[in-house]
């Protein structure tokens, strides 16, 4: 168990380190950030001073080590636009994104679990067909468009829910549906095939033959085992929601990490973009790691 943990942690660290290399390299591709930070007619002396201050006159590997050293200490530099440390800004916006992602995740599970189980139990029935249609549609529409249509129907036409902002539970409903819509398809399919497999197993047949009520068989004995494959992939979906939040937050003006980074891209606020992307990557890697670890705890069969 300890070995699994150590190996997973090491892999995660290497991935994060690699991600920071990529982020560093790409952000240096643009050439001289100083040219973008100073006005066009800045005197050469000011340019040189800023280059020196940012360490841009040193060799590239030294710059990278400096970037890494600072990043490890939580220093991504000052946000040009917000006049505060980039990391502090990103961390300040993170809880709103986590709240949205959790709500979206809850929505997708609330839809996928019953749909998956029912379409396995009543295989080939109209429930199964509905599940199939939702799955196909869910993977064919961009999440921001789901958001726009939700705004059009529930905010503009019916005026039931607010279209943007973040002020209480009513505001999270539409963005959570938009963000949670995409993974419903895959989750339903995983639950369905898991259930079909379990329902076909000997112990379910045994339970049925000794007269165990069908409801108990499905929801107590089969469902719990069918959940396992979903758990393995749950981290991936939670992580993909952090990524999807970039778009959905922009649609709903949700004051989270995603919208902040998108705005920073337009404002050429590099420290915020770097900090935001690196924090997202770290969360992405960590949630995958957590799932790997929890999987070996939940399912004793795959423990080494």
């Amino acid at each position: 168990m300890k070995a699994v943990f150590a190996k997973g942690l090491l892999n995660a660290l290497v991935s994060i380190l690699g991600a920071s290399v990529i982020i560093f390299v790409i952000s240096r591709l643009s050439g001289d950030p100083v040219a973008l930070m100073l006005p066009m007619d800045a005197p050469q002396s000011a340019i040189n001073a800023l280059r020196q201050e940012l360490g841009l006159d040193r060799p590239i590997w030294e710059q990278f080590l400096l970037f890494l050293w600072k990043a490890v200490h939580g220093d991504f530099g000052q946000s040009y636009r917000w006049q505060m440390p980039a990391l502090a800004l990103v961390l300040e916006r993170l809880p709103a994104t986590m709240f949205l992602a959790t709500a979206a995740f809850a929505f997708s599970l609330a839809l996928a679990l019953p749909l998956g189980v029912l379409s396995a139990v009543y295989r080939g029935s109209w429930v199964d067909q509905i599940g199939r249609v939702i799955a196909m549609l869910g993977q064919a529409v961009p999440s921001f468009w789901v958001g726009l249509i939700l705004i059009l129907v529930f905010a503009v036409t019916l005026q039931w829910l607010p279209a943007f902002g973040a002020d209480g539970v009513r505001h999270v409903i539409l963005p959570a549906i938009a963000l949670g819509w995409y993974p419903v398809a895959a989750q339903t399919r995983i639950i369905r095939s898991g259930m079909l497999e379990v329902l076909d197993s000997d112990y379910i047949r045994m339970g049925r033959s000794v007269g165990t009520p069908e409801r108990l068989l499905i929801w107590k004995y089969a469902f719990r085992n069918a959940l396992l494959p979903l758990v393995t992939i749950m981290g991936v979906y939670f992580a993909s929601m952090l990524s999807g939040a970039f778009v959905v937050e922009t649609v709903f003006a949700w004051p989270g990490l995603g919208r902040t980074v998108v705005e920073a891209v337009f404002a050429r606020d590099y420290p915020v973009v770097q900090a935001g992307v690196l924090i997202t990557s770290i969360l992405f890697v960590l949630s995958n790691l957590l799932v790997d670890l929890s999987y070996s705890i939940i399912d004793p069969r795959i423990r080494p």
């Binding site: 982020i23 591709l29 468009w145 999807g244 778009v247 980074v261």
Partner: protein, 300 residues
């Protein structure tokens, strides 16, 4: 059980199942409607300027916010209505097909080629080469694709080439991992060993013995990628990081129409429906190809 048709090949009787190939499919179950929709998109992409009924970039403020033809105030001149600058929505959708097609073509060819090559190399040579390639792929996957897109867009000027670069950087890992695992089992086959003994170099083995065997998988992966590429391009363009005006794309149309959502519902509805139909079609065709060519992967 269905009755075995008289034309069943002799091989079936001997117990060797003939490998289903693209050229022997049955007409039953062919997704005609999705194929037709994709064909329409491709024709619009190739046809370019000659197909749209109106000039997709023609400004006509007098005709701004015309609703689709079936609503009061709409006309047959502008079938799906007009946007805030009086441009015909249908014509812009047709013009936007070209961008989607170009992005999908480049992105799929490049990410497919890079991913397949690296996958073959990793799977065939194994050892440290394999470890290195897989490690790089894992690192690329550690950065969420949209986050990667944001940081690239912050450094490069946004545009069609940025979109393609982002998609290639994101998707090559997908091909790489799947092709690698196929190669891992293929390289243990006898015919590969025989080829090696006969003195074939790695290149000959790649192109003559391995590539033909992963062709089916590649075809399926590429078809399924079409929908994802189109969604990705739409998201990037919607954020303003993808296609830039005066070019047009479906994502950009949605971004433009977003501000006028309260009085022009068709502006955000029509391009989205086209995106949906395109993705749905390519996904359905991909699923069909998978069932046809690779029954093992069929989902329950």
């Amino acid at each position: 059980m269905s009755v075995i048709p008289a034309s069943t090949p002799v091989t079936a009787a001997v117990g060797i199942t003939p490998r289903p190939s693209l050229f022997r499919f049955r007409l039953k179950g062919v997704p005609w409607l999705p194929l037709l929709i994709l064909l329409l998109i491709i024709v619009s992409a190739i046809g370019g300027e000659s197909i749209p009924p109106q000039d997709p970039n023609g400004l006509n403020l007098a005709a701004a916010f015309r609703p689709p033809f079936w609503q009061a105030g709409g006309s047959y001149e502008y079938l799906l209505g007009t946007d805030n600058l009086g441009r015909d929505v249908l014509s812009r959708i047709i013009a936007g097909a070209r961008v989607s097609a170009i992005v999908a073509l480049y992105a799929i060819v490049f990410s497919g080629a890079i991913g397949t090559m690296l996958g073959i190399i990793a799977g065939y040579f194994g050892g440290i080469v394999d470890a290195l390639i897989i490690r790089i792929a894992e690192i690329m996957m550690a950065i969420p694709s949209l986050a990667l897109a944001l940081i690239i867009s912050a450094s490069m000027a946004p545009g069609l080439s940025t979109v393609v670069v982002v998609i290639v950087l994101t998707y090559w890992t997908w091909y790489c991992r799947i092709i690698r695992s196929e190669i891992l089992s293929l390289r243990e086959r006898d015919y590969v060993s025989f080829a090696k003994i006969a003195g074939c170099g790695p290149l000959t083995i790649f192109f003559r013995h391995l590539l033909p065997n992963i062709f089916n998988t590649l075809l399926i992966l590429m078809t399924l990628q079409v929908g994802q590429v189109i969604l990705f391009e739409a998201s990037l363009s919607f954020l303003g990081l993808g296609i830039q005006a005066p070019d047009t794309s479906w994502g950009l149309m949605l971004a433009d129409a977003r501000q006028y959502i309260t009085y022009a519902w068709w502006g955000i509805t029509m391009p989205g429906i086209v995106i949906m139909l395109t993705c749905l079609s390519s996904n359905l065709i991909g699923d069909w190809l998978r069932d046809l060519l690779d029954p093992k992967r069929r989902q329950l």
